[in-house]
Symmetry: C2
Subunit: 406 residues, 2 copies
């Protein structure tokens, strides 16, 4: 079974906000009615880390935030709009992204080099920048240091539920909190596809150490979820660590290990929420590949299975069609012996070695009745392992994406 | 517009059968009611060429037919069943594939090394070999040298229409015919995914020359069509050339060029029929990439666009959402300047350089009203070009694939 409990371990459902942060979200008029502008502020200079989309076509806010990351040793705020991606908008888009930063910096009385910008929504339309500027001027009043709900809501696009969580733990006698928020839904692929993630912590941490940690944990969480294989122009994860708790994260210490584990937990919870909310998804699928020649091979195999429309539609139809799974691994590009292939779904042995099938189709299909599917593929050919997460592929996905702009 | 006429040029819709070939198809009992066993026979020893799936998991008939290709200088027959792929069936599957060949050879009085075998259908179930053996014994009576319709029908699985065509032309004063038949539907990917193709010609040709020709033309036709990105365990294209017309195809001659052109035409017609019949497809999409640094880059870009569920669902919804097209090229792995990107759909300029959009969404969406979509992507950065074909992605695809085995 998919271990829901394990994932949410130590992550409270009533989310806790780290010390020294404020956030807010308002409706500024990009969308018709829903909130569309969020601001996250650290009251102290914070160390920042960030991971950006690998798409060759990068939206203006991605290009501008990349520069911001390198320009300053500490950072203070992130301004985010939803409803418009400010992607493929040329010079005008670049100017608009910089204007969002400048206005936010002016409003907060900080340097423009300390402010990140992020956008999500439709590609190829210019921002209604005047509405956004007015919004930035009024958003200050809505900032809260207790409840980030409105900020989380303001970054949603086709998400059907808001995604945030926090983890609180003790380091050197001090209470440390990591808070994470994300938006996802559709277009989710390993290389940071249309998803925004923001992590705030009151731990103190060196900038380059934080960057390494955020990159590593992102690789094992956000970069292991796959909805449809499309990679977006706008994705990023930004972290801010302001040290307000008084606790410091020192590399190679026990506190470092604990912090890494908790950061991983927060990002994994957000990542799985994104999959769970995949467009039209009805099942969360955990794909574990074991026994490959290397971990890299296991990642390749798991991703290929997670991307296969034939596997995803079969699981949607609760049809334990293992031939499609073995065929997908067959074209993943890795070496393995098909006769050693084993498949276990939610504890049911679907395929044993030497193509041995012990369950009837009816019995095997029972393994897919649950909402959480754990698919274990053992290649019995080495020590490599990897886990990816995806969702099933429903008629609903096609409906949502065929009429996204109408 | 998609040039239907160009494709069918010189291909008669009432298909002509080449001299010295017979074929037939019957119901032997693998499927409940429909024809499921086909036999193709050359009355003369024929030169054979073949291209096989690149999936690491290869069905027994693929492995056996690969051996057959190398074992004999000439070949006489192809025995094909549908309804069961004989894939992932271990030693038993191998024995069954060899038995199909041996029985066919006995029935025809030819050597077992001269007979190919092919299968298509569900993976992981053993063949009902006794029914097939009985079928092989009775199929001889149904062989026709005039009408191959029953054979074409007997290789279908989820195809909604039978796929065959022929081309007749004059070489050295002799009438030469190329006849092609194929099955497709679902799981179609560049590397020979679940499709079977058979080509018969009464031209005479050297075996290695025929192999080069079949490989090249397959690369530019069957390997350029994409339905869902899954690559199957069973795909193959087999060609037989028996020389019965009296005309010979000599390399580097005019007749060679003519033969290549006609072979390309036959395979392209079959390939496009497969796309047209893609599971749940309502539109045939031709993707032409121009102005890339190389032809290889153009193929990569065209394939990535053709595979993108977001592009395919948008086209299904008649939404000219060019942002998804540029984003797909962005993650295809090739280098290009996004600001030089141009998109033309069915003659409508959707995106000009510098992200210039001249049509309203409503006007742009009109470009997608037709059943045949020609999508031209110009990167304006070199001389590379390539064409791929795909279909849109509908709710129907999910329905068909979620319940394939039920």
């Amino acid at each position: 079974m998919f271990k829901e409990k394990e994932i949410t371990d130590n992550i409270t459902s009533s989310v806790k906000v780290p010390l020294g942060f404020k956030a807010g979200g308002i409706h500024c008029g990009i969308k018709k009615f829903k909130k569309d502008l969020a601001l996250i502020v650290s009251e102290l200079p914070a160390k920042a880390a960030a991971v950006f989309t690998l798409n060759k076509v990068q939206a203006a806010p991605v290009l501008v935030s990349k520069m911001v990351l390198g320009k300053s040793r500490s950072h203070r705020a992130i301004i985010i709009n939803s409803g418009n991606a400010n992607a493929c908008t040329g010079t005008r888009g670049h100017i608009d992204a910089v204007r969002m930063i400048n206005e936010t910096a002016d409003e907060l009385g900080v340097s423009a080099d300390e402010v990140f910008v992020a956008s999500t929504g439709v590609i190829g339309e210019t921002l209604p920048i005047d509405k956004i500027i007015s919004g930035i001027r009024s958003i200050n009043n809505s900032l809260s240091g207790v409840d980030f709900t409105s900020a989380v809501e303001a970054i949603m696009t086709t998400d059907t539920f808001a995604k945030s969580c926090s983890s609180t733990f003790i380091i050197d006698g001090e209470e440390v909190t990591i808070f994470g928020m994300a938006k996802g839904s559709g277009m989710i692929h390993p290389n940071m596809a249309t998803m925004l993630g923001f992590v705030m912590t009151d731990a103190g941490i060196n900038k380059s150490v934080f960057q390494t940690l955020l990159k590593d944990t992102t690789d094992r969480t956000f970069n292991r979820i796959i909805v449809d294989g499309d990679t977006s122009t706008n994705d990023l994860v930004i972290g801010l660590a302001n040290g307000a708790s008084g606790a410091s994260i020192i590399p190679q210490s026990e506190s470092y290990q604990l912090f890494e584990e908790k950061l991983f937990g927060v990002l994994k919870k957000l990542a799985l929420d994104i999959v769970r909310d995949g467009e039209g998804a009805t099942k969360l699928i955990e794909i574990k590949v074991e026994g490959s020649k290397s971990d890299d091979d296991a990642v390749k195999a798991a991703r290929t299975v997670a991307l296969s429309p034939l596997v995803k539609t079969a699981i949607h139809g609760e049809d334990a069609n293992w031939g499609r799974i073995i065929a997908a691994v067959g074209y993943s590009g890795i070496e393995f012996d098909p006769a050693k292939f084993e498949i276990i779904i939610n504890g049911f042995p679907i395929l044993n070695q030497n193509y041995l099938v012990t369950l009837s189709n009816e019995e095997a299909n029972k393994s897919l009745k649950s909402e959480n599917i754990e698919l274990v593929i053992n290649l019995n050919g080495g020590e490599g392992t990897a886990t990816c997460w995806t969702c099933d592929f429903s008629e609903e996905y096609v409906k949502i994406n065929g009429s996204y702009r109408t």
